[in-house]
Symmetry: C2
Subunit: 599 residues, 2 copies
């Protein structure tokens, strides 16, 4: 037994030791030779002050030559017993750089690195006050200038944005802005979150009535406060709204609700943003050093232009504006689109006895929720995973350690399993005329999400209504609208009292165009996607998600968002980048992304 | 090594096995012989449907003879590796009864039981929906009668207390009522919490401005949601207020704020309470089956009657009504009392440049906060304890497993250490004329708390002001008040613009007198205390805290409260007792307490 158990540990120790020796000598060439030809090093802010994946010895060498002198990575030490499976040895470790402390995961094949993840965890001298270092809460002793917690909070609310400028403004107070705001608060970075809705959570509350999260609770935790163990697997929208509101309060965020960001420009000379917001009917000018756009992937509605939209006499709106089914009992509804929102809205309308037609314009990837939970997520995000020691934080690290370049290879076999398991279900759907796909390379939902953020439905019941014909299905393109109908290109006329455009959202740099200028939006380029050269994610390969959580081509402009998992996991890296800049720590960025697409 | 490691396990296994055999045969006599003469079995609702400690083989035998046939305890199994230290072998175990599942801690000396704790954890068939059993949150599939989460919450708010009666009403919505409310919600017991303040947390917010919790965060967690790791050690009052408000919302409690419980009577025939509350200016009659008084130990102010109170021209109020120091800058303040509130208020007044005199009427027990944290609490409730695997839940069990009868024996050496460590501090205090005590038997703060709930100050700075004379000290009894002064029995006259009566609170059965009747209050008798025959806790020995969290002499009337630790830990036992009654489970109470004192 000792032989097989000791070996992975020895392998990892030896590799880390050789690696550290080479790094200590500034010898990028030797260090790079410790990597397989076919290898991936993903660095999250630790060496590169960027989110960056390099490939093969050459990529490693280039990165090290550029970063070694400043970063001085060292003190690598394993933190858990390394393991081995199917020829891959895996080791978790911690390390230091000149400015911070980090952790990572190494995978070896034949003694050489196949994948390496290095992730910054904290900045030296700027550790978060928590755990052993949590604040005392009260200053013991007697102090005639004592300020109570409440006084301090009130003073901060009066000063920040008025007599004292925030270092960061986050535009968008959904889960993304709130989670990042909490990280920044913890790091002592003065921040204001600007949100057009009145209360935290309203961006959920205002969506269609039947909405529940499609991701399960283990995947959805915010930083610092986990959902309790009685929390439902799939949070109803109003319940998650309440959680976000309470989280904002107890994390003491400076949250400006009912506030609209109107325009922003970067003052090159003073190296700060001039941001005008409207709050309580009055314009306020904020001058933050850093500006984060966190309005979300699903906030710039993509409304199609269809002939006759101006003559249609019924109700018509984008899915994001859909009020729910109550007013449409007995009415005829046409929902254009066949992804998540389209399915949810169709099902809720059907439940309220509307006559519903779904218009499918292109093929859709469908996965049944319980199948996805079990096969797609269960190993990392489930009650079973938690019970076996895979905390959410560990799961996030494991997920982050799988290189985007080969992630689809891990995904394809899972989706093959799902297709097999639910064969009858898919047969029924196809028999009803529904056009299915599994992503261009069969890699399924997560890859579609990472590449284009659309093109799928996690089935929680609507697909059976489609298969049974309860939700009517119409394939093809819409030609036009008349006063009371939707007319398809093949001439089919669909009578309609309601048309819902479940037609998705556009690239987040559109927010920069709206708020700052088209010029800045173009300078930054497309946001999201990997460059996989699949539909809606054109090449070339970029290695990381475009413009998310990392420096952009516009100084001091950042994008934050994604699902709850990404918002949680990547917010720490964005927060550390902002904190380092506030503290005047040198942050030389390695491999700033090129811009290949405008939107 | 195997010898010493295996031995405790074998000892515990063997004891549990012999114990279970005897119980299975219904042989109380043999089972009782497994206990030392000098032994204690504490049962929390598992066998006795009571909180009950019995002593020695005779006590064990009596309890078993009364409970065995119904409870049928069985399936005892260790849950952790037993340990041994100083001749005591300790084992954690789980077990079942006819109606529930429980866990406990056994301590053996010479192979016989010295202490045994058995605690009910859940009722069979009524397990809480959490962890693996958490709700799904959304009903997958299509359902034309679907009710959203929000609709269901709204309907519940409209119905409960109006068209549908709650099973339980909790009077008092502080941390006690809220924590119990959460437990009952989890168990599906329809409950309304009635609170005269507007919002959850107001009972903290409205107290004096400088107030912070004197117990540290690890001791203060509520059930289900722990304070996050950035939470301060000592929560400022407004911050804990926000937490309680958040908690009430996300735990989905039916919380009636701005509602006053006016009167209640028990309808013997219908076996339910008739409770009149005033809400939004209108009287509403509630008819719960069970009534819980959770107004707290610190809610019935004990206001002394002193000659001249009616002629005094300055401000005078009980400490619970003290608004804080702001209005008293440069004024002369006399604070009557020398416990926690008195010290906090004196210090805050001094910080605001008032001229402050503390009137000490009897000796006080003082412990410095950091000393108490380190020596008194550190092993169970601290960041170090958490790091070494002592979760809050485990710490609660350990604390509960130490019998009240001998608890002072564990405490005395700790307080001896504290006295030694802070000798200079105590010398300075005594030199300033402050009268110190350590409890009648030197057992210190926790025992004072459990016995009388008063008589101490956890020093967070005021004592140095007393020692230095910045807070003036006056010993003795107050004779009278004049228009502008407090006059002591020795004739000393203390000029005063403000008099604060930091004179404590009276027994919680006073709440029953106010709400129900003096007759019921007397039937129930004194609430709190152990019968230790020390000051304010007259004998005879009762074995458990009087009337807390367990059946009282008034059917369907319960008292809940205590500090955050007790509210958290004992709320589960009270909740299970209420749930069992709602479900019609037979709950024969063993050893219902005698009433020895009226208040």
């Amino acid at each position: 037994m000792t032989g097989t158990v000791a070996e992975p540990a020895a392998q990892v120790e030896q590799w880390l030791s050789s690696f550290e020796d080479a790094l200590a000598r500034g010898d990028a060439a030797t260090a790079s030779e410790l990597f397989l030809e076919d290898s991936y090093w993903r660095d999250l802010v630790a060496l590169t002050w960027n989110l960056k994946t390099v490939e093969g010895p050459e990529g490693v060498r280039d990165m090290l030559e550029a970063t070694l002198a400043d970063a001085k990575p060292r003190a690598f030490a394993t933190t858990e017993e390394p393991t081995e499976a199917e020829g891959v040895t895996e080791g978790w470790f911690e390390f230091e750089t000149e400015t911070g402390r980090g952790h990572g995961i190494l995978r070896l094949r034949d003694g050489k690195a196949w994948t390496l993840l290095t992730a910054l965890r904290e900045l030296k001298g700027h550790e978060e006050p928590r755990g052993m270092a949590r604040p005392l809460g009260v200053e013991h002793g007697a102090d005639r200038d004592r300020e109570t917690w409440l006084d301090a909070r009130r003073r901060e609310a009066e000063e920040l944005g008025h007599t004292r400028q925030p270092y960061v403004v986050i535009v968008g107070g959904g889960q993304g802005g709130i989670g990042l705001g909490a990280r920044l608060r913890q790091l002592g970075v003065p921040t204001i979150i600007v949100e057009r809705n009145e209360r935290p959570g309203d961006s959920w509350r205002k969506r269609y009535k039947s909405l529940c999260l499609h991701d399960p609770v283990w995947y959805d935790h915010l930083p610092y406060i986990k959902f309790p163990e009685n929390w439902p697997v799939f949070s109803p929208k109003d319940k998650i709204g309440d959680w976000l509101e309470m989280y904002t309060r107890v994390m003491e965020l400076n949250y400006w609700g009912s506030t609209t960001a109107k325009r922003a420009s970067y003052d090159e000379e003073r190296q700060e943003w001039v941001l005008t917001v409207e709050r309580d009917g009055a314009d306020i000018t904020l001058r933050p050093k850093q500006l984060v756009l966190a309005q979300g992937m699903s906030s710039k509605p993509n409304l199609p232009e269809i002939e006759g939209m101006d003559v249609f006499k019924g109700d018509q709106h984008h899915s994001s504006q859909h009020p729910g089914p109550d007013a449409y009992r007995g009415k005829k509804a046409v929902v254009i689109g066949s992804n998540n929102s389209a399915h949810d809205i169709c099902a809720a309308l059907w439940e309220h006895a509307a006559d519903v037609t779904m218009v499918q314009r292109s093929s859709t990837h469908i996965v049944r929720s319980d199948t996805l939970m079990e096969i797609g997520l269960g190993a990392l995000y489930s009650e079973q995973a938690v019970a076996s020691g895979i905390t959410t934080e560990k799961a996030d690290m494991i997920f982050a350690s799988l290189p985007y370049r080969i992630l689809h290879e891990f995904q394809i076999p899972l989706y093959d399993q799902m297709r097999e398991r639910d064969k009858d279900f898919y047969d029924r759907l196809e028999a009803a005329g529904f056009q299915l796909d599994w992503g261009e390379d069969g890699s399924g939902l997560f890859m579609k999400y990472l590449r284009r953020g659309s093109g799928y439905y996690i089935d929680v019941g609507a697909s059976e209504l489609v298969a049974s014909g309860d939700i009517k299905l119409q394939s093809g393109k819409v030609a036009k609208l008349t006063e009371h109908s939707v007319v398809m290109e093949d001439g089919t006329e669909l009578p309609a009292d309601l048309v819902v455009y479940a037609t998705g959202y556009s690239s987040m740099n559109g927010h920069a165009a709206d708020l700052i200028s088209q010029e800045v939006a173009d300078k930054v380029g497309k946001v999201w996607g990997l460059g996989s050269d699949t539909a809606k994610d054109p090449g070339p390969w970029e290695g990381e998600q475009r413009n998310m959580w990392k420096p952009t081509r516009q100084e001091a402009l950042w994008f934050h968002g994604g699902n709850l998992h990404q918002s949680r996991h990547y917010s720490i890296f964005l927060a550390l980048q902002l904190k380092a800049r506030m503290e005047g720590i040198d942050t030389p960025v390695y491999g700033l992304q090129e811009v290949h697409h405008l939107a």
